[in-house]
Subunit: 128 residues, 4 copies
DNA sequence: GTGGTCTAGACCACT
DNA sequence: GTGGTCTAGACCACT
């Protein structure tokens, strides 16, 4: 499904979170689709199941997946994802990032066209 | 100059880095202007000079300041800030962020107008 | 593993960097092999762990090793060692050195045959 | 004549040494030619004369210049420059550098052709 | 047990 | 007075 990068200094559970999140955002994992079970993923990545569990727990808190006891974890359908705190947080991060890019003299047109592309790509995913 | 947030889980040196960087990016600290000396800042924040030193060293690696032994640390003049690795890194972070915002159905117009504002603000700083 | 030279004026962490680098370049430490842990090396050299940490951090920045929290530090596999900035830097140092040797009337054939030998030696290491 | 780089972490007197040495090696300063006086250079670089003095003293020790009291400092004619200790030192540095470049898979042909060029350039300087 | 952070404090080189 | 090095030692997060 994906690979861990041991050169990366972030903890393994953070990496797992990011990878799963990326799969959801990119549309590889669809709403209500089952994500791999903790044991399954632990085995395929050859790491401790506790590490996977921690990642899934945080993904649930952030609203990306929901767990059903004895069934597994599933992708939260999109209309549930309106998490205002998370949204505010992301917008704040965006501001910091853009300010830094502006300071580095990256032309704003480059950023805007990149955004257009990413939104276009997202739109297509939804129509699948 | 600024305050540390001891509730924040990120390491102190990271917080210091972010604060100094924000002062540079926002134009409060101008190119070639002296930033507080290691000891001075350590005293005013009542933390260990080693922690400041670490923050400054990383800011130097990222190209924001340069340190001169026996003289102090100074804001890198803007034309030196062309750090390709850092730029690539920031653009990658931007992509992740925007993808997530798109997934949350934030209208792209909101992002774009935010970017326009931030660039406009930066342009004004340069004219001071 | 190696010894420090307290007569040497260069800082201890620099000496440690050079020694580890030499072990990697000479093929004593193989790709993905574990280098001694920070504490282990500190104990065997009877110096402070912070000093080892600093040396390892710089070796990581230069691309020679990578550190994994809770696991240890490891030799970067060779294909990852393409660090353009470092390469440029070394080539520049080479130019300065060769110019000085030329000025001293060292015959260029001596330098070239020395280079041939060193490359031959490296080739053999790879075949181990 | 040249400029100091305050971004460079090496002490000012080291930088001055390197700059003067480069002028000698490149043939800009010819054998027995006068190098700028301590005061003159101190004034043009707006630094303390002691710093220049230290640089010149070390250049004299390494055999690049000689001082004549009340007259100034001059470039040592080339046949005096056979300083065996310095030579050995440079050859050792060359070995370290080449080993590192070999480890980085820089083709040896690149190094050799660079050396040929530098020697050719030196030969032309001598014929001026 | 591992690397990473931080404090407290000494001492050095350089200007 | 400045940044840089180093020690001694505590404590943390992660596996």
């Amino acid at each position: 499904m994906f690979q861990l990068d041991y050169m990366d200094h972030s903890p393994l559970y953070e990496q797992i979170k990011e990878k799963i999140k990326a799969l959801i955002i990119s549309g590889v994992l669809k709403p209500d689709e089952k994500v791999p079970s903790v044991r399954e993923l632990a085995q395929s990545l050859t790491i401790n199941p506790n590490t996977i569990h921690k990642a899934y727990k945080e993904l649930e808190l952030e609203g990306y997946i929901y767990s059903v006891r004895a069934k597994g974890s599933f992708v939260t359908p999109i209309y549930n994802k309106i998490n205002q705190a998370r949204k505010d947080n992301l917008l704040l991060e965006l501001e910091k990032l853009v300010s830094e890019l502006a300071y580095m003299n990256i032309p704003k047109e480059q950023l805007i066209s990149r955004i257009e592309e990413l939104y276009e790509r997202g739109r297509q995913k939804n129509n699948d």
